[in-house]
């Protein structure tokens, strides 16, 4: 292996400039909209921040899951999720910014609204601004800590090839997965479910978790394929793509399973306090997006990735993963936008520009992280299995 294949060179200036322009444009449009329609602006930031935060978290979940299941094949791609996890501090910062827009986003944050609403009064012990902010700081802090630890241990292994780094990460993964399921569930309830403070669904946390894993795995596939096309990661063969495809496929089916569980149970029981959520989203312009969400997040990956060649073809996997990443935006958007919008459907300009701005930031940060370290985890004891992976 040549050193050049292991290291990513600096980003070309043209690409870099485009990304910087996107970031600046995002900030500008967001700033302007903030004065015209603060709810729309904050909603767009919530969607974009949550989207990229969950992709970084999905990458950490991938690492934790492969550690705990003692997967060997994933060793050759693990630098990709590690690099993606470095977006976490920025994502956390953007999420904290949302606290400034709490009154635009969350109806329960207005004390006078709570006072006139018996249900909101009953929940005020949980849904109040200080506690909300406190929970946000704690969950973000925990994720930052674990993301940093996983990557640090893995990078240290490059130098000394010691097995104890792997063992330590396995132990960390066991604890982290528990902690993460719990904290992410809290985050889902707080940031998204409480947008409609009367509505509740016990599966909501798992629904978001399924989406997070789907988006995380799809984006790992995308970055891996792009690097491979550029001549890096020469050890990633179609068997690895097959596994990434399988995981994306499985998570897509899992997401659909959770989606239908929530939808069908609420449809069946037909209780007014629950059906409001779906009634709002199946009216007017939202209806098309609502059903299209299922098509792009489940039907497309299911049909394309079901046959074996579908998962092993680089181009195929790339296309489907990109479709899924688009679907993830739609999924999050559908949880956020209808909650505070009086309009019936449609994605606004500020939603697009903010999303692209945060996305450009994401690409800049992940690229930097990829370029700083060897793309092959030389010291990983499972590397031998990853290099000779075949199925």
């Amino acid at each position: 292996m040549k050193e050049a294949e292991r290291r990513l060179g600096p980003m070309s200036l043209g690409v870099r400039n485009v990304l910087v322009v996107l970031v600046v444009a995002g900030v500008a449009v967001f700033g302007v909209t903030l004065f015209q329609s603060p709810t729309a602006a904050w909603s767009s930031l919530l969607v974009a921040a949550f989207y990229f935060l969950t992709i970084a978290l999905g990458a950490i979940a991938f690492l934790a899951l492969t550690y705990i299941t003692k997967a060997g094949w994933s060793s050759v791609v693990k630098r990709v999720p590690e690099a993606m996890s470095t977006f976490l501090p920025v994502g956390a910062g953007l999420t904290l910014t949302l606290l400034l827009g709490i009154h635009s986003l969350y109806h329960w944050s207005h004390p006078d609204a709570v006072a006139h609403d018996a249900i909101l009064t009953a929940k005020a012990g949980y849904l109040n601004a200080p506690f909300f902010a406190g929970r946000m700081v704690v969950v973000l802090g925990l994720w930052l800590l674990f993301g940093w630890l996983f990557r640090r241990n893995s990078l240290r292994q490059d130098a000394d090839a010691a097995v104890h780094h792997t063992r330590r990460n396995v132990a960390l993964a066991a604890g982290y997965l528990f902690l993460f399921a719990f904290t992410f569930s809290v985050a889902g309830i707080d940031w998204l479910m409480s947008l409609e403070p009367h509505w509740f669904s016990t599966i909501f946390g798992i629904y978001n978790l399924a989406g997070l894993l789907l988006g995380g795995f799809a984006s790992i596939a995308v970055v891996t394929i792009l690097l491979r096309r550029a001549g890096y990661l020469p050890n990633v063969n179609e068997n690895h793509l097959h596994d990434l495809g399988k995981l994306t496929f499985a998570m897509s089916v899992f997401w659909a399973y959770i989606w239908i569980s929530q939808y069908m149970l609420i449809w069946y029981s037909n209780l007014p306090e629950e059906t409001t959520y779906y009634l709002r989203r199946t009216e007017g312009g939202w209806a098309f997006l609502f059903y299209f969400n299922v098509v792009i997040n489940w039907v497309v990956p299911f049909v394309v990735l079901l046959p074996r060649p579908g998962k092993r073809s680089e181009a195929n996997l790339l296309r489907v993963s990109l479709a899924v990443l688009g679907g993830r935006f739609l999924d999050i958007y559908l949880m956020v936008a209808p909650a505070n919008s009086t309009e019936h459907g449609g994605v606004g300009i500020v939603d697009v520009t903010t999303f692209l701005g945060v996305g450009a930031l994401f690409v800049l940060i992940v690229y930097r992280a990829l370029a700083r370290r060897s793309l092959i985890p030389r010291g990983d004891p499972y590397l031998i299995e990853g290099l000779h992976h075949k199925q």
Partner: protein, 518 residues
């Protein structure tokens, strides 16, 4: 073997064995007479089964009134047992299908018994939806068959109809999966059989399996496909079972988290049962090198994970009931934790949330006795989980005027005991007549991660021996281009038999060398 294996991997078969030794060790328990312990266990199980048959007969002849139900609590022991047994079955499919898809090779030595367990558990479970009916002789009404009643079909909106489809599909697919997995081993049994009857029975069942690679390739494809089908199937079955409750409008039953939560709970309790059975089996059958302490550990780890999901679901449910701000929801849960059935609730929490936390400690995970005891406690807890969900939600629902209490009768308890009798009777018969560990699959992984592999050693051994060629047998020391007329078929087979005996001796010699080499 040429596979690249990480130095962190440990062998799956903990002691070196030749292939023939593996065949022998797994097949021998079926070829010798049953032990005293087996007879004791069998008699105990069979007595329990007889008790169950008695209780079910009384109930079917007299009416559901022999149970402790009332107009408020319409389901209790019946559906609790149903969900409990279905849950037990789920670990079998998880081990055979999901772990297969995840390439967790350690599943090989436990999947056969776990799948058998699935079948027997589903049999026990399937009993309850039938006997819980007021008129079980009309159970076929729930099937959509052409009829002249108008025509009257069934209500495809009813979760009970979904259940019927789900459970019958689950049973059929599990049975087929199990049988397909058994084929190579049945052939091994056929070829080892001494008596003509055994030979005929195993011969008929093994469908003429001859180890052909062309068949193996299709077989492996089919196995993968069945695993791919069984994985969503097992998720769907318990999801559908959970929807019996979740589609209702009853606080405590209607909650959207039920499908994934029930699946996790099912796997949790199923693994507890697999552990209970496997710990006994490895002890009684002397299979400690096949079902190693690492297998036990891996299963406890899965229990930590699934137990964690279950605990997480309890917390979510409780929190959301409060968060909903809905008085009925809040009451349903406070009644669970502090009402008249609080004892059942806290047994459930204790056994399902606290007990698995012990498995974080390696000392406990590797202590077979401790794991055995804890796995039984988990099963107790999971039984109570279903009891709590069903009874506490029903007994105090919307109108306080219809609140009531429930207590089981002798008939209900006897029926539960009877299903345990059925389960263990079937299982004990199973280990007498079918290989309880997959011979072919264990052989395939016996050399895994072993530096001085069985296969290598055997090859060295055989390479040293002079090749037993057809030439010598025909008395033709020189080559002749392969135009030899082989012996007539009839004599050839007897010839081969003799040869077989000779090889048996050679095999034994090779074994000795292997052991000496260790």
């Amino acid at each position: 073997m040429s596979h690249a294996v990480s130095p962190l991997r440990e062998p799956l078969v903990s002691e070196a064995r030749t292939l023939h030794q593996l065949t022998d060790e797994i097949a021998r328990p079926m070829e010798r007479r049953p032990t005293k312990a087996w007879w004791c266990a069998f008699l105990a199980s069979f007595s329990a089964l007889v008790l169950g048959v008695y209780c079910v007969s009384v109930q079917v002849m007299t009416g559901v009134g022999t149970w402790g139900l009332n107009k408020t609590v319409g389901w209790a022991f019946d559906i609790t047992n149903f969900v409990f047994w279905i849950g037990i079955g789920h670990a079998g499919t998880l081990i055979s299908a999901i772990l297969f898809l995840f390439r967790q090779k350690w599943r090989t030595s436990i999947n056969r018994s776990a799948e058998a367990m699935t079948l027997f558990a589903v049999m026990c479970a399937g009993l309850f939806p039938i006997i819980h009916m007021g008129r079980p002789w009309f159970a076929y009404f729930a099937a959509p068959y052409p009829n002249d009643r108008g025509p009257l079909w069934v209500n495809f909106r009813s979760p009970l109809v979904w259940d019927m489809f789900a459970i019958s599909t689950y049973f059929i697919i599990s049975a087929v999966f199990w049988y397909v997995g058994l084929l190579p081993d049945l052939a091994t049994m056929r070829d080892r059989a001494k008596s003509a009857i055994r030979k005929a029975i195993y011969g008929a069942l093994s469908l003429g399996w001859n180890g052909s690679q062309r068949t193996w390739l299709r077989y492996e494809t089919v196995y993968l496909l069945l695993a791919g089908l069984a994985t969503p199937l097992v998720l769907s079955v318990h999801s559908i079972v959970s929807m019996d409750f979740a589609t209702s409008i009853l606080p405590g039953w209607h909650t959207t988290i039920f499908p994934p939560y029930f699946v996790a709970g099912a796997v949790f309790s199923g693994f507890a049962m697999v552990l209970t059975l496997m710990i006994i089996a490895r002890h009684v059958m002397g299979w400690k090198h096949l079902i190693t302490i690492r297998h036990v550990e891996n299963m406890t780890k899965i229990m930590i994970a699934t137990g964690g999901i279950v605990g997480f679901a309890y917390a979510t449910e409780f929190f959301t009931a409060w968060y909903s701000g809905n008085e009925l929801e809040r009451f349903a849960f406070s009644n669970r934790a502090f009402g008249p059935y609080a004892w059942a609730y806290w047994i459930m929490v204790g056994c399902n949330v606290l007990i698995p936390q012990f498995f974080w400690f390696k000392k406990i995970r590797t202590s077979v006795a401790a794991v055995f005891a804890l796995s039984i406690l988990v099963n107790v807890g999971m039984w109570f989980e279903r009891f709590v969900i069903i009874v506490t939600s029903l007994h105090r629902d919307f109108l306080p005027s219809s609140w009531a209490m429930y207590a089981p009768t002798f008939i209900e308890v006897g029926t539960l005991v009877g299903t345990f009798g059925l389960f263990f009777t079937c299982f004990l018969l199973f280990i007498r007549v079918l290989p309880a560990v997959s011979i072919a699959e264990v052989k395939a992984v016996s050399g895994y991660a072993r530096k001085i592999g069985v296969t290598t050693e055997f090859r060295e051994q055989s390479a040293k021996k002079p090749v037993d060629s057809w030439r010598e047998r025909n008395g033709e020391p020189n080559g002749h281009g392969g135009r030899t007329p082989p012996q007539p078929q009839s004599t050839q087979r007897s010839e081969e038999k003799k040869k077989g005996d000779k090889k048996e001796d050679a095999g034994a010699g090779a074994d000795l060398v292997t052991e000496a080499g260790e």
